[in-house]
Amino acid sequence: MHAQTTTAVLPSPRPEIESRIEIDRSSRSVIIYYWTTSLFWLTMATLAGLISSIKLHSPEFLGGIEWLTFGRIRPVHWDTAIYGFGGLAASGTLLWLQARLCQVRLPYPTLLRVGCVIFNFGVLIGAIGILMGHSTGVEALEFPIWAMPFLVIPYVFIVIANFTMYAKKKTNHTYVSQWYLMAVTVWFPILVLTAEACTNFGAVDGVSQAIANWWYGHNVVGLFATPTGIAAAYYLIPKVIGKPIHSYHLSLLGFWSNAIFYNWAGTHHLTGGPLPAWTITLGIVGSMMMFIPVITIGINHHMTMLGSFHHLKTSPTLRFAVMGSMVYTLASFQGSLEALRSHQEITHFTHYTIGHVHFGMYGFFAPLMFAMMYYAMPRLMNQEWSSARLIRIHFWCTLVGMLVYTLAMCFAGVRQGMMMNDPSIPFLNIVRFTIPFLAMRTLGGLILLTGTIAFLINFIRIITPHRVTYDSPTLFTSDRDWDDVLEREKELAGTRLVDGGQTA
């Protein structure tokens, strides 16, 4: 007589889990390339920024080294931050998010990895070129001309991958984040090619070059970094708290108004310059119109979070995402008001502008990229972040460092502007007044660097094989979780599972 047999059928992973695991596996190596190198450049950029900052209040610091003079190290800071960190972090975000939202595997992984290597090579030789004294002198496009093809060609690969994913998408709708991600891949190549042609290739000359320069300088933030950051926020905030965005209609209004108005705002940087007045007025009007997308996005993010703010205590992703979103609203309001002539009478040519730029980059864009990494990396690597303490250090250093930097620069800038408008005050007295604030700027930079190093340690540990015991839902959808589900079901069945479902 046969013993009683029990049959247990190996359950198939549910389609949603299976699909997500597959998508994450397809993008894992590519995203790690982009994000790891982006953090390397963030560290380098922050170091270069720190050196520049110290030189402002202690000019003798590294003063004997020709390639570390302020005129070289400062553009290295800006260009490695915007291209090295910003370009690579945003590209990684774009690829991972688009694959998830389209529910398709990431196409052309080898091409994208090669593209990442080429892009890094471009940033490296660009930075070395500037340090050797070959800067073009064009703000935000200081990399020598011969470095730019190494940045543009890999971006073509990203554009192709992005459109391929969108063309193959398995969903019926386009999520608002996807609008931003698609738009970025159309806008950014136009920006770079047009600005390079008009400035470094001399298609136009005189003040027209300055217009093209600031059209680019402003838009590289607003039409490249900003849309990627907003796309990340629109995905992460609802996803983490498990609540759809407050108003999808508002989100679309925000996207299209941003698309229409941002492009016009750049010339407000040239207020007081030798340009036709209407050109600057156009920039100011564009800046004012930016209140529409900023308010819609701000309302949407705030209303989505309403009733869920207590999750900030427990979710690292949410902390960074909400910080980024709140600073987006504040920095954008500040930026729009800054465009007004009456405002610029005081703040133009002062540290106030520097404070505003860093408020946006370190307070809005960078935290949203960190949020994306905190959310995606455990899913990609199939293991948890190794240290909650390092995450907390990273968050508080980012917040405090950014606040110290921004408040010091903005306050100093306003006072500096008011003093410069008073002809009875000697210029050197104004310079002396700013020195303590410049030291505070260095302190802010040091705090930011500490946070970056904490994140780097955690990041290196998550991409290297180690297993951390976890019981949080971060790995909810990973295949390791699925293994655990199977294990638990096996224990419950009390049988030996055999492929095919038969057991003796």
């Binding site: 386009t174 999520y175 996803k239 979710s315 948890e384 839902p473």
Partner: protein, 61 residues
């Protein structure tokens, strides 16, 4: 110079046409028909509305 301007304007025109074509394609495909569904497309049975999907490592949901 002529070549540079030709490249710039051609590229801008191509990009503009692409965006308009994308918008027309999206409307035709019904992308804007039901925005409420679009807002919910990031959720599914495994990660439904109401589920918190992120915590500090080592901390329970």
């Amino acid at each position: 110079m002529f070549l540079v301007f030709t490249v710039i304007w051609s590229f801008a025109l191509l990009a503009g046409i692409t965006m308009v074509w994308l918008l027309a394609w999206a409307i035709k495909r019904g992308e804007f028909n039901n925005p409420r569904d679009a807002a919910k497309m990031i959720f599914d049975e495994e990660e439904p509305i109401g589920l918190i999907t992120d915590k500090f490592p080592g901390e329970r949901a």
